[in-house]
Amino acid sequence: MKRARVNAGILIGAALLLIWCLLPIVWIASLSFKPVEETATGSPQFLPKTWTWDNFSSVFQNDDFQRALINSFGISIIATVLSVALATLCAYAIARLQFRGKRLVLTIALAIAMFPVVSLIGPLFDLWRTLGLFDTWPGLVIPYMSFTLPLAIWTLTAFFREIPWEMEQAAQVDGATSWQAFRKVIVPLAAPGVFTAAILTFFFAWNDFVFGISLTSTTNARPVPAQLAFFVGPDQFNPPVSTLAAAAVMVTIPVIIIVLLFQRKIVAGLTAGAVKG
């Protein structure tokens, strides 16, 4: 009896969880299929009265949005590759080597993860304009790297601690240097962890908004989230709700694909470095 009641509770909880997570997604998707005229006159019902693909084609034909998509993919991928490469070296040293200042490095990483990003945009705005980095790809890649490094370092350190290190020592006994042991033995073993760190890093860069609107001024480097916020149709006082929804759906699709493919890895990555106190 009691057991059945508990199970029913879990079942209801699971149903609520699914509704919680998916309802807003279904809502924005539904909105993206409403004709522009329907949302312009007001359409408070959940589903469209008539369904249309027009919003998607008008988003596709929007040059600024296309450009923003290219910017976002390019900048996020470059930042992810560089950040994960540096974090891999750093996490290896932390997990594996003896050195003074290990605690300091981890404290710096922790402090940066908590840094209020907005407090940097003033000086960075000034500095980037002096250095010619304002409104360029590197101008966004650099801050994305700084802010994804802490997460990548933790995730990778946690993964690296689980690796059977005897193999590295065996390689060293066989005459490999520390560096060779790292490259030939550990890198292949560490690849899954590196991949997970890369996914989390990509999410961060893809999601960024503060740097995206502050350090760009044209479509030269403006990423998708910033472009969405600036998206205004022909009538400035009546933004095209359904077209915006279609754009929002399109930038959500990569996220959903990554989640579907790598669900297990992301959960492991988010929880691995976290809390085994």
Binding site: I108, G122, P123, S146, I153, V259
Partner: protein
């Protein structure tokens, strides 16, 4: 790190081997540390310096030394205190609600025996989605002309404008923030839950403890570290709230946060001097909250993450 010396014998004196190991370690660590500091330490020091000047980006030649006048201006302005209050309110409410819902979700994910993949995939979608998209989805959901919320809530007038008043606008902002970040909380709490020994919970059950007693006396105390890390991270994250406010209200109806105020001064008004003072104060606020929470929880964060 507890297993720090595993694999390496304790050394009495510095050997060539350990010296070269240290050199290698620093060579591996240095690039990451340099990149992390280049975009944080230098700019915040620069902000500290700029905050002492009257300095507009549009008129860089009219820079004038003011001393602490910018700070006096900010701290005596009711706008600053109003925004601090808004931000703290958002932080407390969202983290509180997320802790409860997040724990419920974590508990469901911990207990459920079927459809685990489906549930975990679903919960990762709000986590991975762009905050700006979440803000738009909820803005449209609450919107007067195109939103379904008024129609679905039986006690709401169908012509109620959520973005027309302070409290309802704040509610809409907080709903979007809570929706997007609860999964993160739930996953961190799930990690904590899976550290709780099933034997202990079962033993308590055999001894006749009710569900609530098991939760309060066995499960929660055993995942204390996880709860604290989750609260600390989310609290500091919530204090930096910016994206949702930018998209949903642009600070209208007195919904501005400290981050949004700073952004407005620096990027929209080009007030680099005053904006830098705000940046420094924002930084100090985050530092203060982190300090208070860490003291309050009496938890060594590094130890909780098994790193030290």
């Amino acid at each position: 790190m507890s297993t720090e010396t595993a694999g390496a014998p304790p050394r009495a004196r510095v050997t060539d081997r350990s010296r070269s190991e240290e050199r290698l370690a620093w060579r591996l660590v240095a690039p990451a540390v340099v990149v992390m500091l280049a975009v944080t330490a230098y700019p915040i020091l620069r902000a500290l310096y700029l905050s002492l000047f009257q300095y507009r980006a549009t008129a860089p030649d009219d820079r004038e030394f003011l001393g602490i006048d910018n700070y006096v201006t900010v701290l005596t302005d009711p706008l600053w205190w109003r925004d601090v209050w808004n931000t703290v309110l958002i932080m407390v409410v969202t983290v509180g609600v997320e802790l409860v819902i997040g724990f419920a979700f974590a508990y469901v994910m911990w207990k459920i025996i079927f459809a685990r993949g489906l549930i975990r995939t679903s919960i990762l979608i709000p986590y991975g989605i762009i905050t700006v998209v979440s803000a738009f989805a909820w803005q449209f959901a609450f919107s007067l002309n195109n939103g379904f919320v008024n129609g679905w809530l039986p006690f709401m007038d169908s012509d109620f404008n959520w973005f027309g008043q302070h409290w309802s606008a704040m509610t809409a902002i907080m709903v979007s923030e809570i929706w997007k970040t609860t999964p993160f909380m739930a996953l961190l709490l799930l990690a904590g839950l899976s550290q709780v020994s099933g034997d202990m919970v079962e033993a308590a059950q055999v001894d006749g403890a009710s569900w609530w007693q098991r939760l309060y006396k066995v499960i929660l105390p055993n995942m204390r570290a996880a709860i604290m890390v989750a609260v600390l991270f989310r609290a500091l994250d919530a204090f930096r709230i910016f994206d949702n406010i930018y998209v949903m209200t642009r600070g209208a109806q007195n919904t501005e946060s400290v981050s949004f105020l700073t952004y407005r001064q620096v990027i929209e008004q080009f007030e680099l001097g005053l904006g830098s003072a705000l940046s420094v104060l924002l930084f100090l606020s985050v530092l203060l909250i982190a300090f208070v929470l860490v003291k309050l929880f009496r938890v060594d964060l590094a130890a909780a993450r098994r790193e030290s």
